[in-house]
Every structure is written in C-alpha cells, then in structure tokens.
C-alpha cells in the first residue's frame, strides 16, 4: 500500500488509499464513540450517586413548602382553612378598599373587580355581556373561570403594596367577600377548602374559556393568514381610522421624542398640522430644558420619588393608597423642622395618621434621597 502510493502516483490508487484510511477512521470513531458513551454513563451514574458533582444542592422539604405556594385549577396546593364573608369585609375595608372601592367596583386605581354578571350567567356558566359592546370594560368577575386563580392571586400578590402578608384564613375570607360582592355566595357564607369546589361550579364564566387556537405550540396552525397578492391587489384603499385633531398633542410634543438628525424630524404637535409642505422647524429639544451637566445638577425630587416608588402609593395631587403629596405638605408645612420630621417618617414608615393602611419603612432609600424628597414635600414646590 505505502509502496504503491510512493512509487506509482496513480490517481486511482490514491483514491483507494484515501478510502481505506477513511474506513480506518470510521472504525476508530465508532470505537471512540462507544468508549465515550461508556465514559459518559460512568460520569452520569456518578452524578446520580453523589449529587455534589453538579452545582446546586437538594432543596429541603421546608424550603419547598415555603415557596411552593401555587394553587392549581384542580385546587392542588390549596392549604386547609376557612374564612367568612363578614371577616372578609373587615380585611377588605382595612387593606383592599382604598384601591378597589368599597364594593370592588372602583375604576380609580385598577379596573373594577365586580359588575355585569347575572344570576342567569351563574346557571349557564357563560357571561352574556362578554358578547357585543355593551359594557365599558370587562370586570374580573366577568372573566374569572377558575376560583383557584382568585385565591392564588390574592394569596401571592395582595395587598398590592404588601403582598404575601395575609394569613391563609384571611385569603379565604377576602375571596369569600369578593364572591359575595359578585352575588355568588350569600352574606353568611364561609368559604373553606371543603366547599370551594361547589363554589367553583357556580362561577358565572366557568365555561367561558377555550384552548382551541393555533397559538400554544409553534407547530399549531395559525388561524389568520395574510395575502400573498403583490400587484394590483384590492383596487380601493380607504382610510378608515386616524387620530382626531384634538388628540394631536395627547402624547406630548412628538418633536421632542425624535432624534435631532436624520431624514425626518418629529412633528411639532403643539401646533396644528401645516396645510402644505413646509420644511420642519427646529426641534424643541427636551435637552434645552434640562441642565447641561448632570454632575453638578441637583437631583430632581420628583424623579427620586418615582425612582423609589413613592409615587406608586402617593399621587402628587390625588390620594392613591396613601395621602397625596399636597395633603402631606398642607399638614406638615408649618411643623417645626418639617424636613427632618418628614424625612424621619419616610425612613421609619408608620400607620394610623392617614388611615388604616400602613406605610412601610423606607430604610433602603439613601438618606440624601430621603432628604431631597422630604424637602420637596415640605416646600410644596410640585409645579
């Protein structure tokens, strides 16, 4: 073989030799593959017997219990307990009413929970008002098809500013109260893990969901397919919708939301649209209104208040979960050393001054920021 290769220089022989070498390679590769598979098996077996081989450690039963809080549609995961409508009303008035309204009807902070379901819906399991355009917006009770969903969500995420602080029985009670507001259970009802399935069978929209569609799996068939027409398609093109003139500036001046250079500028929406083509005027750059250098600029307390989520609960002029900043200003502006007083209150949190909802301590916010926010509120310079 080697002889013929070196002496002959015959192309046919060379091909033959290459083929043979390839065969040998294949054989070696097979051997190697078997060997590596055996090796992998050994490693894998090792990993199973000594779990310290891969990073991570076993979760303890207590840890799993602490975090595995989900309650599934078949109520798997629901802890035993109970709560009455009356108890639920107590909790509601203390912790829920501010956002959701006394009857779960409020549209002030979040969309309403209660409304537009009927006794007839409870019989059919379908909410009639979900067809047609008869309601301004859908309420939670119109959409809810699984009671587990309501229980799980209250348990994991409510109250909004202090989630996971209700006891199990309080979660049952608040769920019972919401069901009562929705006209599903009577005033004297006590909801428990024993009877929750019976209430599930009464939900107005319990049969209102479908999973028949093409958007769960990549392999599903889409329900709406576009056109592939490329020339002279749909001869008529009518504009069926556009923003009304009065909404021209509803999103602020668009001129200050576009780049300063390029083939286009932002439209100056503080002015009416030009009738004919005019070269766009210079941009009202939002930069012009802010200090040229951030290094020496004083922090903007309004931005700080947003950054530290103060404004999640305190509107400037409107009451949300907590009192408005203007109300706080009015109450404390004449207090002795009002800035220090307010800073102390922000840092320590408190309750009972403005209502039952406690304000959590804000110790994680830097002192300088607290001070700036306190000054801002004390001065009442909200613009």
């Amino acid at each position: 073989m080697y002889k013929s290769l070196s002496s002959g220089c015959d192309a046919r022989l060379l091909r033959c030799a290459i083929a043979r070498v390839r065969l040998v390679h294949v054989a070696f590769a097979r051997l190697a593959s078997i060997a590596s598979r055996t090796l992998l098996f050994v490693i894998f077996a090792n990993a199973l017997t000594t779990s310290a081989q891969t990073p991570g450690r076993p979760a303890t039963p207590v840890e799993i219990k602490a975090w595995d809080i989900d309650v599934r549609a078949d109520f798997k995961g629901l802890p035993p307990g109970s709560g009455s409508v009356a108890k639920g009303q107590e909790v509601w008035e203390a912790k829920c009413e501010n956002c959701h309204g006394a009857f779960g009807e409020s549209n002030e902070v979040f969309t309403p929970i209660i409304g537009y379901t009927t006794q007839q819906d409870m019989k059919t399991g379908r909410v009639a008002k979900l067809t047609g355009d008869t309601v301004p917006q859908r309420t939670t009770m119109m959409k809810l098809s699984q009671l587990s969903t309501l229980w799980d969500y209250i348990n994991r995420a409510m109250p909004w500013n202090a989630p996971k602080t209700l006891t199990t029985d309080e979660v049952y009670a608040v769920t019972a109260y919401v069901l009562n507001l929705g006209g599903i259970v009577p005033n004297e009802f006590v909801l428990s893990d024993k009877n929750i399935r019976e209430v599930q069978a009464m939900l107005p929209n319990r049969d209102g969901k479908t999973r028949e569609h093409g958007m769960w799996n990549v392999s599903d068939k889409p329900d709406v397919q576009g056109s592939t027409c490329r020339n002279n398609c749909d001869a008529k093109v009518d504009i069926t919708s556009r923003l009304p003139d009065y909404a021209r500036n509803a999103h602020g001046n668009l001129a200050s939301q576009m780049r300063l250079v390029g083939g286009v500028r932002g439209a100056d929406t503080t002015q009416a649209a030009p009738v004919t083509f005019t070269t766009p005027r210079p941009i009202a750059n939002s930069q012009a209104s802010t200090p040229a250098i951030a290094i020496s600029a004083k922090p903007d307390p309004a931005k700080l208040a947003a950054q530290h989520a103060c404004t999640a609960c305190h509107g400037v002029a409107n009451k949300l979960l907590g009192p408005s900043l203007k109300d706080i200003h009015a109450k404390y502006r004449d207090a002795k050393d009002s800035v220090a007083l307010l800073a102390g209150k922000i840092k320590a949190g408190g309750s009972g001054v403005w209502g039952a909802i406690a304000m959590p301590a804000q110790g994680h916010v830097p002192d300088a920021d607290i001070r700036a926010i306190a000054e801002w509120i004390a001065n009442g310079d909200f613009k």
Binding site: V127, L130, T131, K143, Q146, M215
Partner: protein, 448 residues
Amino acid sequence: MKSSKFSIGRLQKAPEFFLSREALDLHGDDRRSFLRKAFLAASGVAGAAASGSLLAQTDSVGDPAILNLPAHSTGLGAPVAAKGYGTPSKFEENLQRRESPGLTRVGAASVSFAPLQGFFGIITPSGLHFERHHQGFWDIDPTQHRFMINGLVKNPKVYTMDDLMRLPSMSRMHFIECGANTGMEWGNVAVPTVQYTHGMLSCCEYTGVPLKWLLDDCGIDLKKAKYILAEGADGSGMTRTINLKNALDDVMVAYGMNGEMLRPENGYPLRLVVPGVQGVSWIKYLRRIEVGDMPYDSKDENLHYTDLMPDGKHRQYTSIQEVKSVITTPSGGQVLLDKGFYNVTGIAWSGRGKIRRVEVSADGGKNWKDARLETPVLDKCLTRFNMDWTWNGSDAILQSRATDSTGHVQPTMTQLRAKRGTRSIYHNNAIQSWLVGANGEVSNVQVA
C-alpha cells in the same frame, strides 16, 4: 538609516506632558469645572444651531459649521473614565422610554414603550428596553437570590447565582414582545407613533443556562411531566405555564443581556427567556420552576393575557407571537425633510421561526416589492429590512408585510378582525399603515 532611532519600541512622551500649564491645572485641581466648561461650550454650539435653520446654512462663502471651527476642534475634550459607565450623548435625550398617557393609573403596574423610531439594526440598547412591571421593579442582591426546581423531578434542587454561572452557558439573540403590543389599535387608531403602537418590543442577546440542562440535572420525570410553571420572586409573584415541549427546546434561564448582567427593570439577576413566546412568560426575578402535568390557570392566564373572541369566549394560553413587521422610519409623528430619496427601514419578527421575506407597499397595499433583509436573519429574532423609496410630494401610504419560515404571512387589520373581532387586546400582528401626507407629516392610519 537615521529613521531607525525612531523605530518601534522607542518610548514616546505621554500626551499630558504636552498640555499647557493652564490645561494641567484644570485637569488636576478642578476637573469638574473643566468638564462643565467643556459641556457649556458644547451646549452653546447646540443653542446656536437650534436658533438657526435646521438645515445646513450656506451663503455664497460657505457653511459656518465648516468655516467657524467649533470648540471641539479648538479645545481639549474630556478625559477617560469621566463616566465610569458611559451614557448616550445628551443630544440623544429625546429618545426615552415613555408611558402612554391614560393607559394605566399607577407607574408600578404599567408599561413603558421603547422608542423604536430611533433604533438601528436589531439589538435594543439595554437602557431603552421596554418595561412592564406588575408590582414595581427591584434591584435584587444576587448573592441572596435563589432558584429552585421542584415538582415532578427526582431531585428537587436549589441553585445560587454562583451555581448557575458555573453551568453550561449559551448565548442567543431573541426578540421579546408583550402579548398586548399594538393592543390599543384593535378597534381604531389610538396612538400617534411607532413607539406607542409597537414599542412593547425589544431584542437582545441573552446568556444563560439551557433550561433542559437544569431539568435533566434534577431528574425530570418525562413520563408524567407535561408543563412547567415559572414563578418570580417579586411581590407580584408572576406565574406562567409553559409547554414542556417549549421548555425542553430553546428556553433559557438567563442572567446576561447584551453582554452585561440583566438590568433590574428586566429581572436582575435571573429571568426566563422563552423564545417566540409573549413577554409575560419571560418571568423576571425567577425564583422557581415547578414541573407539573396540567396548566396552572394563574392570574395572567385566566384574567389577563386571554384573547376575547366575538363569541364571548376567551382564548387561553395564546402564547406565540405571530409573524409581524413595522416600518420604523418614516413612521407616525415624523415629518419628512424634503421630497426625494428616502431609506425606508423597519423590523420584522416571528415567534414561529425566521423571517423569510418582507414586502413594502407605498400605495396602501395595492402593490408590493421585496425589501432587503439585513443579516443576521435569526430564529425568533428581529430582522432589519430596508428599501429605497422616492417621495414625490403627494400622499403615500407605507406598509410592510412579513412572511416567516413556516410560510405564515402577516395579515391585514381587516383579515384579523374578520376572525377575532375588535376586543381581543392581545396578539394584534396586523400590517401597520403610515400615511405620508402632502404636508410631509407621517400619521398613523388604518385602511380597508
């Protein structure tokens, strides 16, 4: 050869030795005032430019921007590390994440839209990634973060960030789109610019551990397992069900985004990446995955992210973000500078695969031509497209229509409504129409 004494290896004097005494003083003793002067000088130039015409001014002699040397040509710039973490030019400040007024009442349960009108290519700058928070965002200490896998697994485990960052890692570029993106436009035109119509969309390179690796590591029971539940560590405890098929395919437990750690707004230190699936399933502050055998009906699977159909039923678990595209320039709220040549540019994406084709129409959908797709064209990722166009000064309606690798073609608003009505809120992937008016202004319109 004389030049040899200046050859490679000879030490040159460092530039600071050539600074004037005054400049050195500025550097050494009062860097801030030096910077301030530099910035003030720069903004003075900006002011002068803004007070003149937008377009370059030339008289018979020439453009003052050429003839009068600006401060940056005749002075000293800022030193290195003046900003330990760099930020965009102040002249780019117009491009910000913004809320849509009136959409929500409280900022901690709201959305901010990414300024798509200003982006190039396909990668979203981390600081302009859209935001969706259900109960506010947090900056979580990564040393205290824990990730648990439990349920139908042989060995429930807890991983620290240290553990996860030692494991086999992968990096992939994917789009993330909120299921409600373009949701305000189901009934009629509601918002003015592409930032608000399509800005709940971003695209990043993510780095993390394949979820499959972790599930295998815990000994997933593949005979019983059908779904997983992903859960966040924040107050909302966001929970979403994900198909096991997806979970074992390309889902990733990610800590990296665009070459650095995730931003707090986007789930620092750990989030789920579920390519092609709506953003709500990309659980932020990921603390737990449970393996189970039925969907979980969490709040955001039963009360929200369900698509209302004309028959009054809500579609549940509509997850895939279907084929979609939009022209980002020229787009709503912009004004063309002049008649003539324009590069029409935009982005296309599909949760089912790659983008195969994007067509552009300038006459409201009567006639279409193929746009140029820029590389890379990746699976479940934004694809940038471009097209030459000449504006002749009269009304034009610009549209783009994408086709993905499965052959799914982006529908019109009319086609979507015929099947799904007008009250769905979610999964509006209709062709977007921008009217270029004879006055040069571009506005959001719907056509039929």
